[in-house]
C-alpha cells in the first residue's frame, strides 16, 4: 500500500486529522502558558522576554515551520473530509435525526473548524504577520508584542471576535480531543475514561484562559 493510498483512504485521512489535531493541542498548551505571562502585570517585561525567546531561537523557528505544516495538513484534510462526507447522501431525510444519538458539536466539526480558521487569519494578521515581516521573516528586530496587544484589544469588536474564536475552539475540542484518541485506536475503557475527563477539562480551561487575555486588556485588568 502506497503512502498516498493510505492517507487518501477514509481511515487514513482521519489518522492525519487526529495526529495533527493532537499536535495542535500541544501547541495550544505552549501558547496559553507563554501568554499567561501577561498576568504578571509587569508592563510586559516577562511576556516580551518569552516572546523574544520564541521569535529569536533558531530551533523554535524551525519547529514553527512544523507547526504551520501541521495546521495546513489538518485544515486541508479536514476540509476534504467534510466535502466528501457531505456528498454521501444526495437525498436527505424529511425528518432529521437531530440530537437523537449524537451531540450537535460532534456533527459540526467542519463549521467549527471554519470559524477557527477565520479567527486564525485575523489573529495572525494582528500579531504574527506584522512581527515576522518586521523581522524580515528571518531573525531580525521584533516588535513590542505586549504594546501591540494593549492597542489591539482596546477595540470591542476585536475582543468579541477573539471570544467567539475561543468558544468555537472549545466546542471543536470538546469533540475533537476524545475523538482523536478513538481515531488512533484507543479501545481500552480505563484510558478512554481518563481521556474523556481530561478532554472535557482541557476544552473548557484552555479556551477560557485564551479568552481572558483580550478581556483582561480591554477591562484594564492589566496595564
Amino acid at each position: 500500500m502506497k503512502w498516498s493510498e493510505i492517507f487518501t483512504s477514509s481511515v487514513g485521512k482521519k489518522w492525519i486529522i487526529a495526529l495533527t489535531g493532537l499536535f495542535l493541542i500541544t501547541f495550544l498548551i505552549v501558547h496559553a502558558g507563554l501568554n499567561a505571562c501577561i498576568w504578571v502585570n509587569d508592563g510586559g517585561t516577562m511576556f516580551n522576554a518569552g516572546a523574544h525567546f520564541m521569535g529569536s531561537t533558531v530551533v523554535i523557528r524551525i519547529v514553527e515551520v512544523g507547526l504551520m505544516l501541521g495546521f495546513v495538513l489538518h485544515i486541508v484534510q479536514g476540509i476534504m473530509l467534510e466535502i466528501q462526507n457531505r456528498r454521501t447522501r444526495k437525498i436527505g431525510y424529511a425528518v432529521a435525526m437531530g440530537n437523537k444519538g449524537s451531540k450537535w458539536y460532534s456533527r459540526s466539526m467542519g463549521l467549527l473548524g471554519t470559524l477557527i480558521l477565520i479567527f486564525l487569519v485575523i489573529h495572525l494578521s494582528h500579531f504574527w504577520i506584522p512581527n515576522r515581516s518586521n523581522q524580515g521573516w528571518l531573525l531580525g528586530e521584533e516588535i513590542n508584542l505586549y504594546e501591540r496587544m494593549k492597542i489591539t484589544f482596546q477595540e470591542l469588536w476585536v475582543v468579541i471576535v477573539y471570544v467567539v474564536g475561543c468558544i468555537s475552539l472549545a466546542w471543536h475540542l470538546l469533540h475533537g480531543f476524545q475523538s482523536a484518541f478513538r481515531t488512533i485506536g484507543v479501545t481500552n475503557k480505563k484510558y478512554l475514561k481518563m481521556l474523556n475527563a481530561l478532554g472535557t477539562g482541557f476544552s473548557i480551561i484552555v479556551p477560557f484562559v485564551f479568552a481572558l487575555m483580550p478581556i483582561s486588556f480591554y477591562l484594564g485588568w492589566i496595564k
Binding site: 500500500m1 502506497k2 493510498e5 493510505i6 483512504s9 477514509s10 481511515v11 487514513g12 485521512k13 482521519k14 489518522w15 473530509l81 466528501q84 462526507n85 456528498r87 454521501t88 447522501r89 444526495k90 437525498i91 436527505g92 431525510y93 424529511a94 425528518v95 432529521a96 435525526m97 437531530g98 437523537k100 444519538g101 449524537s102 451531540k103 460532534s106 456533527r107 466539526m109 469533540h175 476524545q178 475523538s179 484518541f181 478513538r182 481515531t183 488512533i184 485506536g185 484507543v186 479501545t187 475503557k189
Partner: protein, 255 residues
C-alpha cells in the same frame, strides 16, 4: 399493558423504481391494535391498498424476530423507530397513541440506492464482506470445538461484535453515511480470535478499500450509529478497526 386501538396518519415514501423520483404519500390507518408489530400495521395498510386496486408499499423483511437484518425503515427521524436496541420488526404499536402521525422513509445513502418504496439495495455490504470479512479454512472433517484456547474476554468481545445483523441502520443514522460500525464489527469479531489472525492485515486493508469504493463516508465518531444499532454494537469496534488499519497499512511493503 392494556390493549387499545388507534387511528394513525402515515406519511410513507413511495418510489416506483431506482430511476424515478419518489415522494411522500399520506395514508389514514384505522383501528390499529396496540399489540400489532409495526410491520403488521403496514401489512394491514397494504391489504387495504390491494383491495383498492393500488400498489402496496414495498418494504424489506424476513425473519420478523430481530435476527436477520432485513427490515429497514427510518421512522420519525430514527432508524428502526423509537425503541433502543430494537429492529423495526420488533417495534410494536404500543409505542404510539391515537392520532399520531408517523413519517416512514427508506435508509438514505448514495451507497444504498432505493429499489422501490422503502426497499434499498444493501449489496454494498455484501461486497465489503466479500473483500475480506471471512477466514480461509481447510475443508474436511470438523476441528474439535475447543481445540484452540481463547481468552474469555476476547471471546466475549468477538461474540458481541458478531451480533451485527448487517441491517445498515448505522449507515442510515450517520451524518457521513459511514459504514464503519458495520465494517468494524465484521472485522473485529475475526481479528479478536486466533482463527482470524492469518488474514488480519489484508482483511483490514481490503475491507476499508471496498467501503471507500462503495461511496460510504469517513467516521467522525459522532456516536449516532451506536445509538441506533439494534444489536448494541459498540463504537469501540471502530477504534479497533482504525488501529488494525494503520498497523496493516504502515508495514505493508507493496507500492
Amino acid at each position: 399493558m392494556e390493549n387499545y386501538n388507534m387511528n394513525l396518519t402515515l406519511k410513507v415514501w413511495r418510489q416506483k423504481n431506482s430511476a424515478e423520483k419518489g415522494g411522500f404519500q399520506t395514508y389514514q390507518v384505522k383501528n390499529v391494535s396496540s399489540e400489532m408489530s409495526f410491520l403488521e400495521m403496514i401489512d394491514v395498510l397494504n391489504e387495504d391498498l390491494i383491495n383498492e386496486g393500488k400498489d402496496p408499499i414495498a418494504f424489506d423483511h424476513d425473519c420478523r424476530e430481530g435476527i436477520c437484518g432485513m427490515c429497514s425503515m427510518y421512522i420519525n427521524g430514527r432508524p428502526h423507530g423509537p425503541w433502543q436496541n430494537n429492529t423495526v420488526c420488533q417495534l410494536h404499536m404500543r409505542a404510539y397513541k391515537d392520532g399520531d402521525t408517523i413519517v416512514v422513509e427508506p435508509w438514505r445513502a448514495n451507497a444504498f440506492p432505493v429499489i422501490k418504496d422503502l426497499m434499498v439495495d444493501r449489496s454494498a455490504f455484501d461486497r465489503i464482506i466479500q473483500a475480506g470479512g471471512y477466514i480461509s479454512v481447510n475443508t474436511g472433517s470438523p476441528v474439535d470445538a475447543n481445540a484452540i484456547p481463547i481468552e474469555k474476554d476476547k471471546a466475549d468481545a468477538a461474540f458481541a461484535a458478531a451480533a451485527c445483523i448487517g441491517c445498515g441502520a448505522c449507515v442510515a443514522a450517520c451524518k457521513n453515511s459511514s459504514a464503519m460500525l458495520f465494517l468494524s464489527a465484521k472485522a473485529s469479531h475475526l481479528a479478536l480470535l486466533p482463527q482470524g489472525a492469518p488474514e488480519r492485515k489484508s482483511r483490514a486493508l481490503a475491507m476499508v478499500a471496498q467501503m471507500d469504493k462503495e461511496g460510504f463516508g469517513s467516521c467522525t465518531n459522532t456516536g449516532a450509529c451506536e445509538a441506533v444499532c439494534p444489536k448494541g454494537i459498540s463504537i469501540e469496534n471502530i477504534a479497533r478497526l482504525n488501529r488494525e488499519y494503520m498497523c496493516a497499512a504502515a508495514v505493508s511493503d507493496k507500492g
